[in-house]
Symmetry: C2
Amino acid sequence: MLLPAAGAPARQRGRALQSALRDAVRSGRLAAGTRLPSSRELAADLGVSRGLVTEAYEQLTAEGYLRSGRGSGTWVGEAARAGVRATRDLAPRAPGVRVDFRPGTPDLSLFPRAAWVAAQKSVLARLPHQALGYPDPRGLPELRTALAELLTRRRGVVADPECLVVCSGVTQATTVLGLVLHGHGVRAIGVEDPGSPGHGPVFTAAGMGMVPLPLDGGGLAMEPLRRSGVRAVMTTPAHQFPSGIAYSAQRRVELLDWARAVDGVIFEDDYDGDFRYDRAPVGALQGLDPDRVAYSGSVSKSLAPGLRLGWLLVPPRLMDEVVERKRTMDLGNPALDQALLADFIARGGYDRQLRRCQRAYRERRDALVRALGEHLPGTEVSGIAAGLHIIARLPERYGPESRLLECADRAGVAVRALSAHLTVPVEEPGVRLVIGYAHLAPSDIARGVRLLARAAGSR
Amino acid sequence: MLLPAAGAPARQRGRALQSALRDAVRSGRLAAGTRLPSSRELAADLGVSRGLVTEAYEQLTAEGYLRSGRGSGTWVGEAARAGVRATRDLAPRAPGVRVDFRPGTPDLSLFPRAAWVAAQKSVLARLPHQALGYPDPRGLPELRTALAELLTRRRGVVADPECLVVCSGVTQATTVLGLVLHGHGVRAIGVEDPGSPGHGPVFTAAGMGMVPLPLDGGGLAMEPLRRSGVRAVMTTPAHQFPSGIAYSAQRRVELLDWARAVDGVIFEDDYDGDFRYDRAPVGALQGLDPDRVAYSGSVSKSLAPGLRLGWLLVPPRLMDEVVERKRTMDLGNPALDQALLADFIARGGYDRQLRRCQRAYRERRDALVRALGEHLPGTEVSGIAAGLHIIARLPERYGPESRLLECADRAGVAVRALSAHLTVPVEEPGVRLVIGYAHLAPSDIARGVRLLARAAGSR
């Protein structure tokens, strides 16, 4: 048994003794039923005071590792195997990839670290102690007010702070809303096809089935939606993911008419609505009918997904149930993070950050389109007006898709086909790729496209 | 219509025009079906360029607020009422209370603000960009490692970082574990009676019924537990809430035997296990059998509930399902908060904070016991060895309970009776109160007890 040297304080030596005994019982080195030496004997063996040993025996007896016999003596009680393994990291990464064109992540190097530290400092200098207590499950009033103003101004939503819930990104918004709708007897939700594969497990966890619904040029095709029988649908009207189309004005009106007719709910995922490069962003669908549209967004694309901060605006009639779900799920988002974001927004930091990203991403989009034209001539690009990715349709000669993806993979280029977003992949000439560019420097974009072109032509 | 002065940049004037039109449609001032003036007319009326008006009409048409007729002209389309109310705060507060003895909150003024800012700064100076991306749903590896070390050392748990999930406090741990057990067909969980009323709605939301189980001097009484038929039970063995008893060594062993016999799970809520004043803390039950005990705790009592940071250690066989629930609930806790806490722990800040709180709370406990002896003589106190509250049994002459609570309320003293924690309140002579003291300065404690004594004697 290794104990701190005799010069160490008794408390430290006592703790070490207890810890060593606990480990010995757990690891099985001291098997259940083993009788321990008397405190006098062990103290002499270890060269420590008898009191230290007595205390250790008492403590471990109180914890159930040891038991004291009726007469005298101390025995080993129940035991457990310890064995601490090395800590692994399950965060989504792409080891061995030279250029990763998969969409979904912004440029994390644009995160405003200095401004964030300054905001944290400013917040902790003035926040009343009370704000560190159990929070309003909907979020800090100052953040809800700031977000309502921001979303009204930037996204054209009708944002009543009383109907806004701060949450851990669109994922939590989806879980919360899914559970609330489930409570109303809704068992299936329509989803765009192609769409985001990430929502599947979230709806499943909420007990909700998914009904994939096709798109046409204007957005979700209305006839299949009407025939489907669903009463809830998840959409990305500002910039459909992944096709990149913006819902037409007519389709927006038709969709709302449908929702009113079936007494349904539209869940608007405004995942990258802030990023539009050649004109002003298209306003959110929610602004047209906040009684029919639940609206969600987050800072995952504008700041960082790791912040896990987003918002959910819900039709007033669902608000109480949404708040109750949020409350039982985690009592509310972390208060300091919320105060920090409110401060950041109030000082204009959020608008500045969006402008900064907007400039960087427009430049990267242009670099991507240029590189595709140069190295993969004949490629048609679409969905380039907004967002963090585009759709590239490569000429037939680069197909078939499986072959191209295999070659890209071998070349160290991670890229996803549009078909991966489809429930039933359609056979078509050529290959359509979903290419994310926001997280890549222009030089990496050019290099990635060169590698892709070489791989595509290497057969 | 109020637009920025003619000197303002065109972009700013254009945005203001769009915003004003949107508001007018939403508020109903421009009713659906109204025909708008031509762009030429409106431009002349407002003294702006015609292009600005055309652009505004186009933008709002794209968003569905306006529609363009087949021939010419622009009409108002669908509309929504805006009406932003003032932001309310639903955080639990006690307005009008002079001294609040209700338990559950630590002293928020002890939150180490300066160290927190320093940790944030240090973290943001060295964190790789990648750490700001989508996180490991179990938590940052560095925090899981730090917590595993901390909990092993301080609480005697068997903490394998691979079986540790960082979560938003014990509430989220309860929801996650509740949903996982529900998935295994568990529909009811045994809870201590008296116990924490907060868990009720959380279990209910997870589809779980509660079976209240009585206590005896050693902890949860075994016979009623065995008879109840439950296979899962939530316990507070280190410091039962609210009675304050520590489970006896024998009861710990009996409880584990029961769990093994019914192939069940014990959920250990170690809500304040770090605070023990007169001897070393009693180690956690989980350390005796990590295959049968799920263990949860948080920084809510040691730092602040507003941080929403806690941990859940689960039996290895449940780990995958727990992680999947956490993933679909929010994808994981905020990465920066986690890195910050890991840094704080690694620099010894957490141990320092516990020592600081320990000193402050011991002093307050002593002040409370002293004040009760002085102003409410004959009061018996129990559960004083640990935690942030005590149980005070007032002599019969101060009863009945309802009358005492009414008088306390009128005197501005918020205090809770033990009976409020019981499923079926028992008739007994005298009044037993649960008195939280950790969040109160010694002078406030003395004042509160004086007020209470005056109120109790005022009839």
